[in-house]
Amino acid sequence: MAFDSLEFVAFIALFFGLWPLVRAHNTPRWLFMAATSILFYAWGSYQYVWVLLTTGYIDYRAALAMEKYPKHKKRLLWVSLAANLGMLGVFKYLDFFIGNLNSVTALAGLEPLPMLKLELPIGISFYTFESMSYTIDVYRGRFKATNNVIKFYAFLSLWPRLAAGPIVRAGQFIPQLDQYNPVTPMKWWNGTRLIVYGFFKKLVIADQVAGAVDTAFRAATINQSAAYWWYVMLLFSVQIYGDFSGYSDIARGLGKWMGVEFPINFRHPFVSFSVTKVWTRWHISLVNWFRDYLYYPIIGRNYRSKVRGNIAMTTVLVCSGFWHGAMWNFIVWGLWHSLFTWIERDTQYPERLLKIRGGRHVAMLITFALFMLSNVFFRIGPDVGRAFLIVGRMLTFTFGDVVNVVKEHQYETLAAAFVLGRHAWFYFEIPKAVTAWRRRVRFYTEPLELGILLAAVVFLRGPGHQFIYFQF
């Protein structure tokens, strides 16, 4: 069910209309959460509800069994990982491996294996990771398994973040389900603000700039202007930020309305001063997952080893790229980030720049430029060679026709300026007097701002585009 549809409005009206009747007691509340979440999921993807229910049930039973039979917990953990990764592997990655194998065997003149061409269940990359985090944390003894299957499914399937995160950890979230946290007026108001900001970022910003990006990448021949591609990649960076952070904000806002907290997923990533720092500000929940369940296990006790650290970082970034999609461009994207993270670690250039006057700004601009360049690989699809051609064009740094490019995309420029302006507000130190003034008048300015944003969401919404991260 798309967030930007009348059906969704009807769904949340129904959900929150009935919510006061069920929220006070645990079992009815969990049942209501789980049932509505399954309904929400089935609306768009009814044929794959069984995937969510099956992998969830396997993990629920495996976690309980780990506590009952601690001698076999390692085996049970492998069962859980195999079920989750197996399901993910079949639906998402099997055709990738078959395709690549066929390319190799074709050289030997062998018959190609048939591809399965399975549709990717919505949200599978998200809920399998959440489910695995549950069993891993139980295995590590960090979290006690729940013996209530309804509560477990309420955790796993809760609808605001089911399709595209944030990836929620059992240890942080399940305790929130143990009792209902009444929604204070301030929490409700903050949730409303998040929801409206989220829709604004998605519908007014991301969906409106998507057209210009699509046109650039769909063209039969590559535009030869470097300025054009830098502009397009700026727009794409704004698009994917608006789309994904918008979704995360909507999910967090809806969570606040329910009295639960989802983790923050974005923290002004464009003003990071290093690529390493970007990954503490962009898709934070995924990065933290990989940090806790892949990076640290690889590092082990050798946390001082630079080589081991770099290997762990590369593994995490490549896996992160591959998590996004079963295509070589995502692997190259991960390697790109890995390469610059290695350079940063070895040369310490961001830290050195921070020490000199104006160096912070230089570091930030270099990082943003690298981020935009990496997004060429993220956006290109299967044609990696074309991505290198575009990056090559961008690195000629010829900006002769930048004025014409901007003139042709005036609305998109405004949209990008809005996003960058918000980042600049965070980046530059705001005078204390301004902050104090804002605090004094926010009773009036916040509703005014929200009303304007809401009207903009209604009348300036772009042509419908599915949330980008729904495809992962």
Binding site: L6, P185, Y411, F443, P447, L448, L450, G451, A455, F459
Partner: protein
Amino acid sequence: MPRASRQLGLGRRLLVRGLGRAGLAALVAIALGAAVGLYWPRKDKGLSEERWTQVKLDARDRADVLVLGDSRAGSGLLPEVLGRHLPGKVVFNWSFSNNGYTKAYLDDVEQVLRKGDGRVIIASISPYAFTPKHQVGGYLGARKPWFTEVKLRHAWRLLDFVRPIPKWEFLDVLRGRTERGWHHVYRDDGSFDGWMVPTRPDFAPVRARHEYIDQRVSPAILDGFFEHVASWRKQGIAVFVVRPPASVEMEALERESQFDEAAFIARLEAAGGRWVEIPRGPQWESYDGSHIPPHKARELSTLVGRAVQAMLRGDAPPALPGVPGAGARTATTASASTTATSTATR
């Protein structure tokens, strides 16, 4: 505490508690929304495109005279004008954008026509309508999920009120330049007026070069079309076929689809249909290379209306302006005429 401050504090507390921040935000949004909805100078007049398409999808027993085809029919053959030459008959334009002559579309024609005598079909063709690429969009692609169609049937006034403002229009209106860009007026008789400021006659040919350059007319699709023509004729429905004009460049591109007009006319007549000849050439001033503006659409509709009226009476169609001879082309005159037209359009 000074009295003014006490009053301000009290006022603010009342405002916040009384209305609540959410209420205040809602008020602002509703006021702005009402202002925009009521006063924003929309470029697109009439129905919204979605509602306009839904009206056609829901049409049953709608008309005695049905216009079929794609967006060239939608913008070029106006029921209001055709109806003046076909008195006593209700005319409805049942064309769809990017429409091909698919089996599903042709099968459903009869449920849109009224039952009884005197029924007429005016089928507008373009070569791409008989290519494989146009067998997936158009009428087949117009169907939406059931809940969307329910909204378009029952909540369309609300949806129209909150119709989004296109981004180019938003900036143009703010700068007081409402005349630029695309303009559409969608009518509930199924037709639409379209124009652009400034015109871009290269728009459609550039797109066609990318999207249709490898498309060829399919014999199987043509067979299906003529089978339906024969079937309609058996039911006493008069069938006329017309090829609306496009820009010279667009027509040159369409020739690469290997559409044989003379052969088409021959098969049409064998199936019982009649061809309506339209003079071709640069006088049709397409604004985007594919569609003609409203004043030219009225001209075209008048030509077609007169020709159909004459042929229904059993008379020879009126002579075409600027082209000596009859307004209907038969198979025997087709070859000579095609050669003459090709020479003129080069």
